[in-house]
Symmetry: C2
Subunit: 310 residues, 2 copies
């Protein structure tokens, strides 16, 4: 069996990095020859996680076709979020917890999607189904990914499966997940060290909605004012990125992880579709408060999809 | 939890009918409220199976939105093979063993695809993973579906998983699967009782390849001459169906289940793409022998996709 690369989405978050490592470990135990790589450098939160568990960052690739013919995707399926030469490659496996969109194959494949909070939750279940033991370090890494994706089990994306798996992994890893989780989340909110571009685009994903190229970034913070005190610089970067990359509209979701509220900043058009999606007007600053909204996947992309494609 | 309908593809074969019944049984055991239905009447082989195990045919529906808001798909995902009002519905679960194409959702969902010979193989594994006992009758039905899809484990789509599951199900059902399987396959090859339209379109599926509407029918036989003695009538129906339904090209794959060879009949254009796909010319009768080809999914659709989209 020839070697395959496994990777998460562009602008990798903790789950994208960790799920690739975990799925590679599992697949190699099952007889595959795989290597976990990444489509970008770890963010500040992921760096904290990797340092805490003494795990190296994965190798970063720009293309895969120069190394392998087949790949496995974790934590994404939409081609515009994946490796740039995906259309030249065969995707043999996908493990994901997002909607399915613009993902087409010529051949049957392994595809395991579950509507749970984190890819690492699904991979933990796959370890259990295959009776393969999870090493303590890997348990700590997957635990971190679930804490990251579910904001310590407080996001509305959280399911009973995530809660069960978090307790299972915390036990294996020997970690007090609540105190560790808060430290970890806070490590990802040090905005002063980030450039405007890093803040706006560091966790951004692209979506094709109703023929429009929609970019949605998200930044976690413990104080929304830390984000919007830099609004002018952020808007400049959102405009220049849109011009350079061909986005019609760029949304930045700033999320307060302590009180689970977000505020949206919008650059580009059609803004009226964004207003339609959330049933309220942008203020004169092109901003909109979204109380209780913390999940891009569950609370932002579906209403945008309905508004843009309705 | 509100009720959901579960169904296989249009022109249902044995797996499409049986997988819906089996997955509905499983999901109801897991706490869902589902009903297995079908998008068409059972074919001759499926009628033989249902009669053998004293199981009623499922209710046939034309649309689902008049009954439910959400549905579960088995044995297909491509919208043009599904219920006519699929775009108005939420798909919550898919269990399938085909390529993924033109399948888009707004929300995360359960999607379990495996590159195995039959959807019923995957569903048997889901029963086992959930520790839910398979009733003898359901084991016989799922066994029949796997025999049908894999031509008694002889098709190149057959995997070790299918072989393992066939033995497991035969034991539960108390069936000698080899003798039963041959009787069952032969029951599906009584072509004299079929009209030209039934023969051409009874098992046909639509594919959108490189912007062309491609219809691919398949008929099993124990003698290819039984099919091609009716070629003129078959071509007339393929032409009139293409005009009525907007197909650019219609392929009929006649498969000899005894020696595992097929012959293709082609009506419409672009025929050169079909010749390119299989690396050989159609004869003056618009026919092409395909030795060793028995699987539309694995041996016909992928080369067509490469030729039409390459």
């Amino acid at each position: 069996m020839s070697k395959e690369l496994i990777f998460g989405h562009q602008n990798p978050d903790t789950d994208a990095i960790v799920a690739a490592k975990a799925f590679s470990y599992l697949q190699n135990k099952l007889g595959y020859d795989t290597e976990a790589v990444a489509l970008g450098e770890p963010n500040a939160e992921t760096e904290y996680v990797l340092a805490h568990f003494d795990e190296p960052a994965p190798r970063v690739i720009k293309t895969a076709g120069n190394e392998v013919e087949s790949v496995m995707l974790v934590d994404h399926n939409e081609p515009q979020q994946s490796v740039s030469d995906l259309s030249d490659l065969t995707v043999t496996h996908v493990i994901d917890h997002h909607r399915i969109a613009n993902f087409n194959t010529a051949q049957p494949l392994w595809y395991t999607a579950r509507p749970v909070g984190c890819t690492s939750t699904i991979i933990t279940q796959l370890f259990d189904q295959n009776n393969i033991e999870i090493p303590a370090k890997l348990a700590g890494l997957m635990l971190s990914a679930i804490i990251s994706d579910t904001l310590l089990l407080k996001s509305p994306t959280t399911t009973p499966e995530d809660e069960t798996v978090v307790k299972e992994l915390a036990k294996i890893a020997g970690v007090d997940y609540e105190s560790y989780g808060l430290d970890m989340l806070k490590a990802g909110t040090d905005l002063d060290s980030k450039s405007d571009l890093e803040l706006v685009d560091g966790d951004a994903k692209s979506f094709e909605l109703g023929g429009k190229q929609v970019r949605v970034g998200q930044v976690n913070t413990v104080d929304l004012a830390d984000v919007f005190s830099r609004q002018s610089g952020l808007e400049d970067v959102m405009k220049s990125e849109s011009e350079a990359k061909g986005y019609d509209i760029f949304l930045l979701l700033a999320t307060n992880i302590l009180d689970s509220n977000s505020e949206l900043l919008v650059v580009g058009e059609p803004k009226d579709k964004v207003e339609q999606a959330f049933g309220k007007k942008l203020n004169d600053d092109n901003r909109m408060l979204l109380p209780g909204v913390v999940s891009r996947k569950k609370q932002v992309v579906p209403p945008l999809t309905d508004a843009f494609e309705g």
